[in-house]
Subunit: 410 residues, 2 copies
């Protein structure tokens, strides 16, 4: 499309690539397949998550240089954010926002904490229209019935919505792609959509082709954990492309597609997630379109209130853990002091006779030191968690007050 | 001033309060003094840093409720961000951005790492004019000659500038107050001002009253460390109020004041820093004023290049530390393996005869485990540091390319 042409057709690709070194099955093969397909299929913007190995990113970058000359990898955390974007159009600027909460460092089996979950933003200009393109990956849901990570994921959804709201105003169009780890009706999605006014490409699409209900985690994919999907025989939809027009521009979703298990013409899928592919039709308008910031206010009040309730539940749990780890640290310290007193007593009174077996005495001391250090670390961590949950809860209270005080000032 | 009146006079107060529990001298007394003065003196916006104790914040909030009915404390890190804002006008929204680097956890004597340095943003609307008010505190400078924290502070200055640039567009006026820990000519200040277009209230002020050259850390203050100020007999200026008009508004600094050691009418200063107080004159214009994003481009290229060079120096140092901590971890692991082999050999071959003294053997093993854990932790930390420095360096390279490719598109 030429500069100045009032309509623009944009093809966007989004995929959680599941490319974790040493852990993801047939990783290198799949990354190659993804690269080949992206080169053949000519999208305009490619938003990827879980590209944890920078080598994989470099390989993709090398392979895609011809058709996607611009790209950005968002660095964060020990391993990286896993987020990257490939683009046919120049990337003018980037910004990374790290979520303040992201699970627990001691939940090693759920390595989320180490991966520095964040939201990446690139700014690009296509045919004179400025796009803010966000890519993100929220904390995974490991057990839907008893989801201990829900408060953290909701803090992330809130921070994501706030980050988008505060950074979108220079843009004409906002695009968000990523693995949000939330089902379409979940409170976090309703919050995100209500608070930002983003539209769901799946719900808005004129044409759809792919898995039933747009699911992106399906039993039909040979890499998905079948037991987790037992309650959802068709699968779940947790990967999204969302969009919003800000100024004198309209955006419509012409078509949405997902992959359906195996990659087209291959014997394996690209990932354990299905890819989401949207074709957007963007049209410049004569006059500015009203910037409708989201859902009607009474509904927005409900959804913020619901989120706040969940955050408060998380806050109570974090306060309990802060208390119990603090108590553990104090007990370990007391044990150490007791041992020190006993040792001093032994040294002063009966240097010859040894009342304690040296080895078990020193082992006990080391154990106490270990528990003390661990419990102190955990106590500090949960203190931080409490502060962040409190801070978010306060922000939501402020938002609710603002919503309720000015019901007509949408 | 009435809504609709085209001019507005705004009084802003900024102070690093040095209110660290147990560590800061005469803390409670000084916090009380600060509260009394703020209540008497009737500013419009009060930006405070280093209010580390939430109790102090609550006390101030209680005392200032009458004249500053709106306030916000920015939670972050274990202790909090220390940042808070009091306002005569409703706070409509808030956002906190945490810097990705902030010193080293093992530099306990320079506790910066634990304090979660960040930038807080509040949005407020005064007489129909939207203000984005930022408050921040960058990493301290402990030794100007050999400033190992310079790369971290420059990453923070860059992230601060990027955060402001991406969030300012909905505002009519941008205000930034805080302890930037940089002298006026330092590369980080030049970067921040050049990249955002913020103006220095001290340099622009029509009238000035206070310490010579606007210094905010002066030998005349009984709480400052005199040895650190030896090279600067007049003191240094590291606390700033910066501002910028975005849309159809002009901002002028009518007056800038600083405190001068002791608080007016008292025998002690408010803090070890001097307070900065600006009176701004804000006028609505008929038509939009060109949004000049900062310094002329050739100068901007120079300052970004200079910053990038310093970031690369930091990157090299971080890479060296990542390597040496990794080597240390491997050595500790080898020692442990060696011990395990020896112990197994002893168990298998000569169960009766004990070739090693048990106590020193187990102490050595515990030592090796300790070193292994510590070195691994540090290795992970420096890996993260390397990633963040690399990421910033890449962003700066992208910015330079954009600046150089479009020299006329300021």
């Amino acid at each position: 499309m030429e500069d100045g042409d009032p309509t623009l057709r944009l093809r966007i690709f989004d995929l959680n690539c599941w490319a974790i070194r040493y852990l993801s099955k047939r990783r290198q093969e799949r990354v190659q397949l993804i690269g080949d397909m992206l080169r053949q299929d000519g999208f305009d913007l490619v938003l990827l998550q879980e590209v944890w190995s920078e080598q994989d990113y470099s390989d993709l970058k090398g392979k895609l240089r011809g058709c996607y000359p611009f790209s950005h990898y968002f660095h964060s955390g020990v391993i990286g954010s896993g987020l990257c974007i490939f683009s046919r159009f120049p990337i003018l600027d980037t910004l990374l926002y790290q979520y303040s909460l992201n699970g627990y460092p001691y939940m090693l089996q759920h390595g989320d904490w180490f991966c520095g979950k964040s939201v990446g933003l690139i700014v690009t200009k296509i045919s004179g229209i400025i796009f803010n393109v966000y890519v993100t990956h929220l904390h995974a849901e490991y057990c839907r019935e008893k989801d201990v990570y829900l408060p953290h994921r909701l803090v992330q959804a809130w921070e994501l919505a706030q980050f988008i709201r505060h950074t979108l105003t220079a843009a004409d169009v906002v695009l968000l792609g990523g693995d949000l780890n939330m089902h379409p009706g979940d409170v976090g999605i309703r919050l995100l959509r209500g608070w930002t006014g983003l539209r769901d490409a799946f719900a808005e699409a004129a044409r759809f082709e792919g898995c039933e209900d747009g699911c992106t985690l399906i039993p039909n994919n040979c890499f998905t954990a079948k037991t987790e999907l037992l309650p959802f025989p068709q699968g779940v939809r947790i990967d999204y492309i969302l969009y919003k027009a800000i100024s004198s521009v309209t955006v419509k979703c012409e078509e949405l597609k997902t992959t359906t298990g195996t990659a087209p013409g291959m014997d394996i899928p690209f990932s354990d997630h299905e890819a989401v592919m949207a074709t957007l039709h963007i049209q410049r308008q004569g006059q500015a379109v009203g910037d409708n910031l989201g859902t009607a206010e009474p509904m927005l009040v409900d959804v913020v209130t619901e989120t706040r309730t969940e955050v408060v539940v998380g806050l109570r749990a974090a306060q309990r853990q802060r208390y119990s780890t603090g108590r553990m640290a104090v007990l370990a310290l007391l044990l150490l002091l007791l041992q020190a007193v006993a040792a001093l007593g032994a040294l002063a009174g009966l240097v010859a006779g040894q009342p304690f077996p040296k080895l078990s005495f020193s082992l006990l001391a080391f154990l106490a030191i270990g528990v003390l250090l661990l419990a102190t670390g955990l106590h500090l961590f949960h203190t931080m968690e409490v502060k962040m949950l409190q801070g978010t809860e306060e922000q939501m209270r402020m938002a609710l007050r603002a919503l309720q005080e000015r019901p007509s000032d949408g």
